[in-house]
Amino acid sequence: MSADIVLTVEHVAMRFGGLLAVNDLSFVAREREITALIGPNGAGKTTVFNCITGFYKPTVGRLQLVHRGGASFLLERLPEFRIAREARVARTFQNVRLFAGMTLLENLLVAQHNALMVASGFTVLGLFGSRAYDRAEAAAIDKARYWLDRVGLAERADDPAGALPYGAQRRLEIVRAMCTDPVLLCLDEPAAGLNNRESAELNAFLHAIRDEHAISILLIEHDMGVVMEISDHIVVLDYGEKIADGAPQQVRNDAKVIAAYLGVADEEVESVEAEVAR
């Protein structure tokens, strides 16, 4: 696998008033790898996500995203819609955010908004009917159909997204993000609420899109089964600090990670605390 770095997070800290949600976090996400961000509840995972996707501006630190072509973006300086549009970072949300009243197809067309906007001559040409826009729209619909097929939702393309069962809504949200042609796809707990079969399908799907579409994936996950199986690289957070970073095998056997997840016996607390505090 290639080892080019896509995302570099350097010394990022995020402070909400008196709460230090993320403290001096540094890690990298490599191209065509699935990087998992894990940690107990309240460890600051979603905060890191929000910093990367521009919904929060980090208090300190630098977030650099590099495209294969060499273009480089400092994410902490861009508003969130430009991170999605120019730096091509797409994301999903922990609590699924679909356009519930719009059909599946419309959801996927909204994701292609910026390309279609240009094709419609910023509405002016499209208003009076232009061939170029009709072609662009047909291409966008084809792309949407491709992605709906990929997740087995093509049959329901004209149903409102809000009428889908939960698992299907999660899949739709992922392909909606894919319709923006991302370089980095950020998934916030994609397996939450899925049953075992669905989450196995999700794993296969994520591997497939990583390989076929040459994208990098950054995901937050609670389900250790999922994480260990699909990740190429794991970053573990606890109380806003990074406590481990490495391959799944390495992280699995890390004493601090085990302590953070399982807790430790009383006599071990001091030694572990000393180690964590360093």
């Binding site: 996707t53 919904f55 969130e80 819609f81 430009r82 991170i83 999605a84 549009r85 797409a90 994301r91 949300f93 955010r97 679909l98 356009f99 519930a100 009243g101 719009m102 059909t103 197809l105 419309e106 959801n107 067309l109 909204v110 994701a111 292609q112 908004h113 910026n114 279609l116 906007m117 419609s120 509405t123 499209g126 208003l127 826009y133 729209e137 619909i141 159909r145 093509a154 393309a157 004209d158 149903d159 409102p160 809000g162 009428a163 909606r176 993000a177 923006t180």
Partner: protein, 441 residues
């Protein structure tokens, strides 16, 4: 409700119905005891004399009691909202007729001047209805599609009207030049207002737009040198038929076409102008819905945060909705000015904004046909009840309450997808977000 799960046929619970009716009667008594029970009349010396009307009060309370009892009993029997009491066959017939309803409505609107050529009153009413329908279509873009609650729409209407009047009077330009200018100036105002306030959402945006509407009205009222203040602007030039004025002169419309002069010509012309403007608004709205900008508006209404995550510049998107809505309001205002020949701040009060919003809400947000029907029903209803002036608001209020209870999402509440992969389908109202429910944070 807990009742819903039970079978339809069941024992009548008289005690519960009586309790419900008694409660309703108590509320009615509380409401009317001072309003109807007591009355003050000027006495012989000029001082007010207090008289009581307990008989009338008792009659009203008794009527409320009986109605509530009847309703409670029927409700128990049906155990279903009114909607489910409509027979399925009627519903099926209605849904089959729906596609033709629009065509029928437009067709009827087109031949109104032919049918009612001699009825000046009805033609004027038609013009008023079409004006409000157009305002409704314009506001529908902002409220129905983009989900931005705007309580100050009359401000854009006013700006269109005043722009038209001032430009036409100052520079002597013709109707067809001043009309677009009125729309453009209203759109510009929309953009200027939109920049600072569109980061607000839901209720907060509603309050700011409400304030904006009042500010514009107060400016019109107080900037005497420009707007004439409360005296308004009179002598606004009337529209001409592509240069031919509607008068009895030799170069007038009637003489040119060899017709006997009749003031109705102008009314019919005005009717077709506003009808054309309203239809253009509908056409543009329908086109926009199928374009990325229209889908982005609807997506914005559904979930703003998801829009931002997909790379949509939400500020610009909201601003275009606001500006385009304002532009159509401005067109309607310019038309209003030329039709009336006289405008004053009195015509652009909060009541106008509320009326247009009521038309949009009653018609069904995002539905063109619903808005047109609502405009016809509301303004037609106002005229119909003109003789019963003092009961007009009572009926209006009752109608509003009924709509809110039985059709909370308006007359036409379903949403038609903007693009389809296969079959023809509509989205049930319950799933669609609207401005009132606000965006989840």
């Amino acid at each position: 409700m807990a009742r819903e799960g039970k079978p339809i046929a069941r024992r009548i619970d008289l005690i519960a119905a009586l309790k419900e009716a008694a409660l309703a009667a108590l509320v009615a008594f509380g409401l009317f005891v001072l309003l109807i029970g007591f009355r003050t009349d000027p006495g012989p010396t000029g001082a007010l004399v207090l008289s009581t009307r307990f008989g009338a009060l008792a009659a009203i309370v008794a009527a409320v009691f009986l109605l509530a009892l009847l309703r409670a009993l029927v409700w128990q029997q049906a155990a279903a909202p009114i909607e489910r009491m409509v027979p399925a066959s009627l519903k099926a017939a209605l849904s089959r007729a729906a596609p033709y309803a629009t065509a029928a409505f437009v067709g009827f609107a087109l031949i109104v001047p032919i049918i009612f050529y001699d009825n000046r009153y009805l033609l004027d009413l038609g013009i008023v209805i079409a004006t409000y329908a157009m305002l409704g279509f314009g506001l529908n873009i902002v409220v129905g599609l983009a989900g931005l609650l705007n309580l100050g729409y009359a401000a854009f209407y006013a700006i269109g009207a005043y722009s038209y009047a001032l430009i036409a009077l100052t520079f002597g330009l013709s109707f067809w030049i001043c009309l677009p200018l009125g729309g453009v100036l209203a759109a510009l105002t929309g953009i200027i207002l939109g920049f600072p306030v569109l980061r607000l959402r839901g209720d907060y945006l509603a309050i700011v737009t409400l304030g904006f509407g009042e500010i514009i009205r107060l400016i019109l009222l107080n900037w005497q040198t420009l707007t004439g203040g409360p005296n308004g602007i009179s002598g606004i030039p009337r529209p001409s038929f592509f240069g031919l004025p509607f008068n009895s002169a030799d170069n007038g419309f009637a003489a040119t076409f060899g017709l006997p002069y009749s003031p109705t010509h102008r009314v019919v012309f005005l009717y077709y102008v506003i009808l054309a403007l309203a239809l253009i608004t509908v056409w543009v709205t329908l086109r926009l819905r199928r374009l990325p900008i229209g889908r982005a508006w609807e997506a914005l209404r559904e979930d703003e945060i998801a829009c931002r995550a997909l790379g949509i510049n939400t500020t610009m998107t909201k601003l275009t909705a606001f500006a385009i809505g304002a532009m159509f309001g401005g067109f309607a205002g310019a038309f209003f000015a030329t039709r009336q020949g006289f405008i004053s701040p009195e015509s652009f009060t909060f009541g106008e904004s509320a009326l247009v919003l009521a038309i949009v809400v009653l018609g069904g947000m995002g539905s063109q046909l619903g808005v047109a029907v609502a405009a016809a029903v509301m303004l037609g209803g106002f005229e119909f009840f003109r003789e019963f002036e003092q009961y007009r608001m009572l009926v209006f209020g009752a109608a509003m309450v009924a709509i809110v209870i039985y059709r909370p999402r308006g007359l036409v509440a379903t949403r038609k997808p903007s693009v389809l992969l296969r079959a023809r389908k509509i989205v049930p109202a319950a799933i669609v977000q609207d401005a009132r429910s606000g965006s989840p944070a």
